[in-house]
């Protein structure tokens, strides 16, 4: 390891870098985007409710699957459940349909949506 003390090394690593503390994004902050922050809060609540609703739908789908295939269901079976590739795909499709249906009005009228997936964005010039 380095022969410098930890403080000496940190000082050396920080040379010429005082400016970074002033850069936008250095502090995480708590931004809001609407003039009325209550709209921000309402959108946050709407997204959280969407997630909580999906958790219930997910549990219901797993419960029905286990009942149909195993004839019984316990909390432990739900926690240990590993979907088959086919069932995983079915759940994914259900989730995407649900998400699109619930939130479709958010961007109405601004143009057709692009690819709904990460496409290695940092490596693709756009």
């Amino acid at each position: 390891m380095s022969k410098q003390t930890p403080d000496e090394r940190a000082k050396k690593l920080s040379e010429g870098l005082d400016y970074v503390k002033e850069l936008p994004g250095f502090e995480r902050g708590h931004p809001h985007y609407f003039k009325d922050p209550m709209i921000d809060h309402l959108l946050e609540i709407v997204l959280q409710l969407g997630a909580e609703m999906w958790i219930i739908r997910d549990r219901q789908m797993v419960t029905e699957y286990l009942l149909a295939t195993e004839g019984k269901v316990t909390p432990e079976m739900i926690e240990a459940f590993k979907p088959t590739p086919e069932f995983r795909e079915k759940m994914k499709e259900e989730r995407r349909t649900y998400t699109r249906r619930v939130y479709q009005s958010l961007y109405e009228g601004i143009g057709p949506a692009g690819e709904a997936a990460f496409v290695s964005g940092v490596l693709k010039a756009r």
């Binding site: 997630a51 994914k92 990460f118 964005g121």
Partner: protein, 363 residues
Amino acid sequence: MGHIDTKSLLTRGFNGNSPELLKRADEAYCDFVSDARNILMYAQFQNIGQLGAGELDAAAKATGNLPNSPEAIKGVVMKVPEIATYFRVKRTLQESYWQRIAESYGMKASEFEQALNEADKKGPGSVTWDPNFVYPAYATVDIHIQPGGYTGKTLGALTYDYGTKIFFGGAGDADSLHHSMADKTATPKDGVVKRVMEVGCSIGQMACGLKKRFPDAEVWGTDIGAPMVRYAHWRTIQQDLDVHYAQMPAEDLDFPDNHFDVVTAHLLFHEIPVPVIKRVLNEAKRVLRPGGVFGLWDFFSAKNRSGGTNFMGLMDACDNGEPYAPGFVTCDVEALMEQAGFTLRSHDPQELGRAGRVGDKPV
């Protein structure tokens, strides 16, 4: 507390090489967030970017000045409800998944910490880190607004692992993105590869890919963050791969001159300030042997991106914990590589996914 067995720690097993969250409900929550990001963010990226860039252009025409400070930019574009909605959704989804993941693993925080302690002394491979390391301020940012960033929390790398799975929207599961980069990483022209290092290796996904590609080589992963290298080692043990990890700033490596055949950096440079980029390039050149090769995988330069993408990048810097990314995309990193003494291999600036930016250390 007795020995921590991985099976009893991870009651829900692995998803690829990443530990599953500890409750079904947490996984369902993150599945929703992942798809919501895909549908409400990635699918709207182009639209919002163009809309924002158009608003900024219109403001510039009206006033004679292009807004360039974050406050001025936000003042112009956030009047458009769809833009404000996009960034609200983005920030909320980002904050949500970090919190939920940390809460899920946090149910067994002491057990995970013990597992890391035990892994510190185990092989295959090794890990070295300094409990007294003092981080320079630049490395303490909440990158991607993950609380604690890459350096501030003992279990931060575990949270990062599942968080980046969500970030990639499922496209990087089983480390497929990182392994494809490892497979495409350039090699020295003489073909000799005995020692390989990834600097800024985070959780070791690419280092593992490099070990798979070069099984007979000595493979190292270094990172400034102790949480990262410790977890990378634990994760690599689960894959039974022999990789060495060490806590080292990429600009101050404890290796001799002319030691490595290949040094690579994957998505490191946009997370460090430009002066540090210059130091890292000099250090990479020092530890590479003559004829060795440096491979850089990172963002496109701003000059090769659309105005909309640059607008989105600026917003990402401000509100998604990316303070150094604007500096990277405007620094002309190819010129900096040449200034450091590398000979650049030709590449198409629009096709960085093929091999990244590659520099040879002259023989």
